[in-house]
Amino acid sequence: MTEPILSTRNLTRDFGPFRAVDGVDLEILDGSITGLIGPNGAGKSTLFNVLTGMLAPTAGQVFLQGRDVTGQQSDRLFAQGLGRTFQIPRPFGRMSVLENVMLAPMNQLGERLWGPILQPARMRAEEAAIRERALEVLEFVTLDGLADQAAAEISGGQRKLLELARVLMGDPSVILLDEPAAGVNPTLTRVLIDKIEELNRGGKTFVIIEHDMDFVMQHCDPVIALAQGKIVFQGTAEEAQANPVLLDAYLGAQVDD
């Protein structure tokens, strides 16, 4: 519980003259559900993008399970156990929901050009196992009824669950969720929270960007607040609710939203 599984040192990202992430020293503890909050434009999503290798940092370092992974791209980080979802879901629209999920396992035999030709039996066996697991994961996120649907046809909330399912297929140890509850109806949000907590009990670490303060206060510990690219608060949910700086920087801004 006490080892940081994901951490940064002085992480900085500029867009031209604008500093979106400003010298962030982050420590995500193994087995935690960390809530990342902050007003719009605080740099939360940019921080996610730098952490997951989709944007290169301007300065600073990223460590995953103690290893320096600064500058590595998202495909390599996923292989090392760092998964993420997107604020606006990115389903593979003209693929079935099942196929979306079956994509994720790493190093599938059939991903090689000659795999299907040279080792058809082994590939089919592996494929059958992946399909079975994909159906299990879809059942876990309550999407099993939609397995044969084109991903473009499912609802926004279901897309959030689909993204979670895809990431779970790769069995990462840290999962970054970008606004998992935004635009999701209360029933599905409930499902999502249950699944996150169940996975967390199984040992997975979560970092969650969320604007829904009830969600954060009930389910995240610790809570980290970002404003203008900097960490302005770090502590438990109770401390967050009582913190005047946080109320000013975040909850205040949220009222104007």
Binding site: T52, M54, Q73, S74, D75, R76, F78, A79, G83, R84, F86, R90, P91, F92, G93, R94, M95, S96, L98, E99, N100, M102, L103, A104, M106, Q108, L109, G110, E111, R112, L113, G115, P116, I117, P120, M123, R124, E127, A128, I130, R131, E132, L135, D144, A147, D148, A150, R166, V167, G170
Partner: protein, 325 residues
């Protein structure tokens, strides 16, 4: 009667050769979303290389190695693959329309090179001279054409089955995922740049095979055979048939090539003599109208792409039924 059958054999041979090229484009565009606007460069690389390697000796330019026919074809595929690899490394970072412009430029450069480099491949006069394999046994007539058609059809089936397996495999899944959303595919551990290059080279090798068959069928290839119109014809075949669907690609090839041939015949027969010079232009306009019309009214093509599905609950049949639905 024998005239009609003989013509049908000829027509089916050319259409089947083109169908192989269209299947190559389907892997690139239909499955991976790579906008190859220079199909004819890879088709041409295969055609020229095959004829240089397998043709009869020539006095004034490279070629005439008289290689065993299948080896010459493999050499043609290799040449197309090497060209694709080179072009791919340089241009595959480009997206959609930019990739199309870059590859279109490559094709025009290829044609210009072939037209001017006389020492390489005969320049504007083209490259001729190919000793047909098994000619002594089969002669030059109808029997030979029938056997060659059987050979081309066999290769078409081999390519069709190979690609069918490929796109239903996890490799095909990666292609589609990268076509749909490259960023998301990358976040799930896939390497878009590597996969795009593999698909681009593989598709181009298949186009090179088509080119090699084409050149050796006519025992002739010239810059006139690698003009941009062939790229557009091949695109029209894929769009009409249905991008992402191999059966559609083959169907589209026969429809478009049939329409092209029939319109050519009709124009030469019915157009007034003074307009005969321009009938080719009318055909070009027709191809353009078909592409635009399909994209406007039926962009998915005659046989749309099918989803790969699970057929939940029947694991044994899932794979097969999924692919055939």
């Amino acid at each position: 009667m024998i005239g009609v059958i003989s013509y049908l054999v000829f027509f089916t041979t050319v259409a089947s050769i083109l169908a192989i090229a269209v299947l190559g484009l389907n892997l690139q565009w239909g499955n991976t979303g790579l906008f190859n606007g220079g199909v004819v460069a890879f088709f041409g690389a295969g055609a020229y290389a095959t004829l240089i390697l397998g043709g009869t000796p020539q006095a004034d330019h490279l070629g005439g190695f008289e290689l065993f026919y299948p080896l010459a074809l493999l050499g043609g595929m290799l040449a197309a693959g090497l060209l694709a690899w080179l072009v791919g490394v340089l241009t595959l970072r480009l997206r959609h329309d930019y990739l199309a412009i870059a590859t279109f430029g490559v094709a025009v450069a290829f044609e210009t090179l072939m037209r001017n480099a006389e020492g390489l491949a005969g320049g504007a006069k083209g490259l001729r001279g190919f000793e047909r394999p098994l000619r002594e046994a089969l002669g030059d007539g109808f029997t030979y054409n029938l056997v060659f058609l059987a050979f081309v059809l066999t290769l078409l089936i081999v390519v069709y089955v190979f690609l069918g397996r490929l796109i239903r495999s996890p490799f095909g899944r990666m292609l589609r995922a990268i076509r749909e959303d490259e960023v998301a595919a990358k976040s799930l551990g896939k390497s878009p740049s590597r996969v795009r290059l593999t698909a681009f080279v593989t598709g181009s090798v298949i186009m090179g095979l088509a080119g090699g068959l084409y050149a050796t069928f006519y025992a002739f290839i010239s810059p006139q055979d690698v003009l941009p119109i062939l790229t557009f014809q091949i695109w029209a075949m894929l769009i009409v048939g249905g991008a992402g669907n191999n059966a559609g690609a083959v169907l589209g090839t026969f429809i478009i090539w049939g329409g092209w041939t029939a319109s050519g015949w009709a124009l030469s027969r019915f157009a007034p003599i003074e307009a005969q010079l321009y009938t080719g232009t009318v055909q070009f306009i027709l191809i353009g109208m078909i592409i635009v019309g399909m994209l406007m009214w039926r962009p998915q093509g005659l046989l749309p792409e099918r989803l790969v599905v699970s057929q939940s609950g029947k694991p044994e049949n899932k794979h097969k039924t999924g692919s055939r639905r």
